[in-house]
Amino acid sequence: MPNPPSPPGALSRRALLTGTAAAAGLGLAGCGSVSGGLSGRTRVKQWNLLAGSDGAVMTEMHDQFAAEHPDIELEATTFGWGTPFYTRLVMGASGGNASDIATIHLSRLKSVSPATLLDPITLDELTAHGLDPADFPEKIWEQCFAGDELYAIPIDTHALVNYYNRTVCEQVGVLNPDGTLLETHGVEEYLDLLRAVKEATGQYGTSLDTLGGWRQFWAWYRQADGEMTFGDGEYEMDDDKALQSIEIMYRMAEEGLCPTFADGGQCAANFENGAAGLVQVGNWEINRFKAFDQAQGLDFSMTEMPDFFGNRRTQGDCHSYVLPRHHSWDPEVREATLAYAAWMLRHSFRWGEGGGHTPAYLPVTESAEYQALQPNAEYSGVVQNVQFDPDVWFSGSAARLFDETGAIFNQVYGLAMTPDEALALVKERIQALLDLPNPVD
């Protein structure tokens, strides 16, 4: 299961009350949970999928929020990233029984059927909590709507980036004098760089998450200007451009330039233990690598995706807050929920610094403090280069297109499938998804 591992504390720490309270609640066992409702504080339940090291940053922010808001009891829970989380969200909301607030990928907004499963947010509520539509990048803000209703509050932009081990890269001479990674152009140049690094590590050139192949595929496919459009039972994609992207995976794995299998945890571990000199993974691992640097030493920095086909486009998405549908809202809970969301946005400098994400809240990203932040500044270009997933109900982070093609690409990295076979299977799966009746609209 492609669940990235999580550091300690990524889980809700004060999620639940003690057993004595629970035992006392036995009498009320009929209705709700044994925990909660006994403290007299307003309880806000938050669900998230931040099982990576960004989850630890969120927990740290939650602790600070809790310290500043003694009247609010924040109960945050991290679920397995991807399908386990989204399934739980939808199942919970279908019974009016999900959390008060949840983090989702903006690319998934339409797939969670906002009209029936989410509660809209009014602009008045936002302004009452000090937020303004102008505080968000327009391109992202527009995606927060379904119909005329606002359903999401964007938190950040995140994307695949390229981390490099400076010690290793210096050894083989692929660093600029200022210590940044040499810029390469085209696939061959980059593979040469990987070969050099592989010499030094003795194992891999780069590490990557072989289960997250969709991200790499989409980045490279979009670098080549590949388009994927969906019509009624039909779709269009550029087979040649898709094939050349899949071939990169196969070639790297075949030559041993990258692992043939690595889940989120192993992918990052390869970089930490020096098995690989680079790692192509999301900016969210920054916290993990920083922690490793402090504990055992790891001189690293990060930059944008390498230019394979004439530019440095990358795949990415936005985290955002949504309010799952409630049978009825307790006004106090609703108030506390929005206060929480607004507080998190105003304090999202830490989110960018620790989580590696680029905050969506402009007052933060436009601040001089943030602009000077390293290594974030080195990859700040991703915000312009980020490519969101194609627009169709089964697309988006951890959606079926992502999962099903990812499983195929994992086979490619495992050298169990040739690029031609993989492309044929990808096309077959896309067609099968298209043939499904759309259960959302």
Binding site: P8, T18, L26, A29, T78, F79, M91, G92, N97
Partner: protein, 295 residues
């Protein structure tokens, strides 16, 4: 506990004991004992490995370390973290609540129904009994979709009732209890009735006391079945505060990630309650399983 374990446990101890004579152990017997003991230890290894890992500090437990069974550096770190987080305890309490509701309701409903079927004749009796017996063949797992929808519509999802009630329907228990009641002579009841006891009194004061072992077996198996049920609570226990132990461990533990000592501490604590139940009720459980094959 020792007292329970020391008791002879063969199905017909008297008969066997009478036949057994003391002999010098043969080579064959020694081989059998050694082989059996070795297999038993092998069978316990996974549980012991979990226990061993749980007692190591994280650094010693993590992958890439030497495999060794005795911790070099004994540590309860994994357990402590678990208790600090607190959700494990909540899940255990939830499991206890849900399994208790299920067990009590199952016993009450099934005993009532079995008594009704055993002792009375009433309109449509055969139709109702036939329908319930047919229910033996309905696989609950194939009903998850409509059942989930039903529980949502009843606004029971995410509540203890939503977790427990659908698990209460156990036609097989009615069947088993009815067969047992059928075999109880009516003389006792007649005596009680002459004393002026009503039907319910008769059931509670005559039938139930006579049915101790069977009710214990039904109760224990219902409890274990409900405690270990995974699929249904996975669907309806939406929030972690409502999850049962198997679901909480399975769903939320995705976040434990690379923390193996803590992970195994959770596993050990997760296994413990029913292992204790098993050791206490070993006799009833063993005989209960045996009953399936012997009936």
């Amino acid at each position: 506990m020792a007292a329970v374990l020391d008791k002879p446990r063969t199905v017909a101890p008297g008969r066997r004991a009478a036949k057994r004579r003391f002999k010098r152990p043969t080579v064959g017997a020694v081989v059998v004992y050694v082989a059996a003991a070795a297999l038993a230890v092998l069978w316990l290894l996974p549980l012991l490995w979990a226990l061993s890992t749980s007692l190591k500090p994280e650094t010693e437990a993590s992958l890439g370390q030497d495999i060794h069974w005795i911790p070099q550096d004994w540590s309860l770190e994994g357990y402590r973290t678990l208790f600090e987080r607190g959700d494990h305890l909540t899940w255990m309490i939830n499991s206890t609540i849900v399994s208790t509701i299920v067990t009590v309701l199952t016993l009450v409903l099934c005993v009532l129904a079995a008594y009704g079927f055993s002792r009375f004749d009433f309109p449509a009796k055969n139709v109702i009994f036939g329908a319930i017996i047919a229910g033996l063949m309905v696989p609950g797992q194939a009903l998850i979709i409509p059942l989930f929808d039903l529980v949502n519509d009843l606004r029971l999802s995410g509540t203890y009732w939503g977790l427990a009630l659908p698990q209460v329907v156990a036609p097989v228990m009615v069947f088993i209890l009815k067969r047992f009641f059928d075999a109880i002579p009516r003389d006792y009841e007649e005596a009680a009735k002459l004393d002026g006891a009503g039907h319910l009194r008769v059931l509670v004061s005559v039938i139930v006391p006579l049915s101790g072992p069977i009710m214990a077996a039904v109760g224990i198996f219902t409890f274990i079945g409900s405690w270990n049920n995974f699929l249904w609570p996975l669907l309806v226990a939406t929030d972690p505060s409502m999850m049962t132990l198997p679901v909480g461990l399975g769903v939320v533990s995705g976040g434990y990630g690379l923390f193996y000592a803590q992970n195994m501490a959770a596993a050990v604590l997760g296994a413990l309650p029913l292992l204790v139940v098993f050791l206490i009720f070993q006799k009833q459980i063993v005989n209960g399983v045996a009953g399936v094959g012997l009936k």
